[in-house]
Each structure stands twice: as structure tokens, then as C-alpha cells.
């Protein structure tokens, strides 16, 4: 990983230091399910960043799909009378 780090020394684009990036990356690694399993492997910086982006995008897609299904369900259900029951269930999960 140190070899990779030395390449990103260009400070003309941004003032991020190599250490900051490494720090960010090692912490991100713990958040991404994909990478948590490989905690003791050395995962490259760019791989961690890539997986983070992929993970966020996949979460976005999941929410999109859920929004789709929910909007269909809401349209087809006349749930006014069930609303209270559903809210109660939600509060008891």
C-alpha cells in the first residue's frame, strides 16, 4: 500500500495528505459488509473507495425499488382504516 500512496502526492489538485486518505480508507473498510470479512487482508485504497461507492449505490437502488413497491402498494390499498393498526405494528417491531 505504501507504493500506491506515494503516487498520490500531487497537492495541486487538493490538499489531502496521504495519511488522511489511508486513515479514511481503513475506517471505511469496517463499514462495508463486502470488506469486513477481509479485515486482515490488505485491501487497496482504491478498492475500498470503489466498494464504498458501490455499496452506497446499491443501497440507493434498494431504496428506489422499495419506493416503487411501496407506491404501488399504497395506490392499491385503501388503508385508511388500517392505518392505526399498521402504525401500531411499526411501533412494536
Amino acid at each position: 500500500m505504501s507504493g500506491r500512496r506515494s503516487r498520490s502526492k500531487q497537492s495541486s489538485v487538493s490538499s489531502i495528505t496521504d495519511d488522511q486518505i489511508t486513515d479514511l480508507v481503513s475506517k471505511l473498510q469496517h463499514l462495508i459488509p463486502e470488506l469486513r470479512r477481509r479485515r486482515f487482508d490488505k485491501v487497496s485504497t482504491s478498492k475500498v473507495l470503489q466498494e464504498t461507492c458501490n455499496y452506497i449505490r446499491s443501497l440507493h437502488r434498494e431504496v428506489e425499488d422499495l419506493s416503487d413497491r411501496l407506491s404501488q402498494l399504497l395506490a392499491s390499498t385503501d388503508s385508511d382504516s388500517d392505518q392505526a393498526a399498521i402504525i401500531r405494528s411499526l411501533l412494536m417491531q
Partner: protein, 163 residues
């Protein structure tokens, strides 16, 4: 960050979201998936109570009921074609791979385009945890609604007796 994993927070968010969705259904005849997604994001951002940049950015963004929001995002992505162009010289470009990916990450987390590395970490972790909760909550609502459809007796919802 821990708050996104508590049961309580999950309950609060899912019930608030459900109420918001029922409210919007009363005012307009149908809720598009986009509007629903937007509502889900806004309620999520409100739950953050203004403590994070991404939540403030979501609440500050203009409301749009059309697909413009998505197209807008795509347009912003293509601005960076100069980074994509020469595949061969990618490693020699002024912006190395890591920088590019950092930039991509910044674009994905709302309101973080110019954030420093350290703050970006905080925002990203919080945002990811919040998104995970959002998925769990919306899944729960979907399940309750689907269940409700199957179980409700016909005298309350006349037309559903066809199943």
C-alpha cells in the same frame, strides 16, 4: 451514528415515514415512486436533526416531483469525461485513481462535494448507517402493507375479496 441501529430509531422512522406517506396520499391522488423516495429521504434527514451535512443537504434541496433530479445527477457525472477518455494513460493523468474514487464518493454523499477527508469519513459512515436503516424500515412497511392486504376482511375493503 449508533442511533441508526437502535430499535427505537427504526420504529420512529418507519412510523413517521408511513404517516407522511398516508398524508401525501390524501392530498394527491397517487404518489410516484420518485416522490415516495424523496419523502423517505426527507424524513430520514429530519431524523438526523441537523447534525450532519448530508441530512442538511437533503432538506435544503428543492422539491421535485419529476425525473429531473435523476437526470441532473447523470449530467453531473458526464462532466468528468476528461477523466474517462484516455484509458491507456489513466495512471498518468493528473488525477490518480484514488483521487477520482474519492471524488466519486463525495458525489454520492449529499452535500459533501468539497469536504475534507476526515469529515467525509464521518459523513459517509453516518450516511451509510442511515441508508441501511432506511432500507430496513421501508421493507418493514412494505411487509405490513402486503400482509394487511391479505388479511383484511372483505366487509372493510369490499373489492379485495376477489383473492
Amino acid at each position: 451514528m449508533k442511533r441508526w441501529t437502535t430499535k427505537r430509531e427504526h420504529q420512529i422512522y418507519s412510523s413517521k415515514l408511513f404517516q407522511a406517506l398516508c398524508r401525501s396520499r390524501r392530498t394527491s391522488s397517487s404518489t410516484s415512486a420518485k416522490e415516495l423516495h424523496q419523502t423517505a429521504d426527507r424524513v430520514l434527514a429530519i431524523t438526523a436533526k441537523g447534525t450532519t451535512r448530508w441530512s442538511r443537504a437533503i432538506l435544503a434541496a428543492p422539491l421535485t416531483a419529476s425525473t429531473n433530479m435523476k437526470k441532473h445527477k447523470k449530467a453531473k457525472v458526464t462532466v468528468h469525461t476528461r477523466l474517462r477518455k484516455p484509458v491507456v494513460n489513466r495512471e498518468k493523468r493528473k488525477l490518480p485513481v484514488v483521487e477520482r474514487k474519492l471524488r466519486a464518493l463525495r458525489r454520492l454523499v449529499p452535500g459533501c462535494r468539497k469536504l475534507s477527508c476526515n469529515n467525509l469519513l464521518e459523513e459517509t459512515s453516518d450516511y451509510i448507517a442511515a441508508l441501511e436503516m432506511q432500507v430496513r424500515a421501508m421493507t418493514a412497511i412494505t411487509e405490513f402493507l402486503s400482509r394487511g392486504e391479505a388479511q383484511v376482511p372483505t366487509d372493510r375493503l369490499g373489492s379485495i375479496g376477489n383473492m
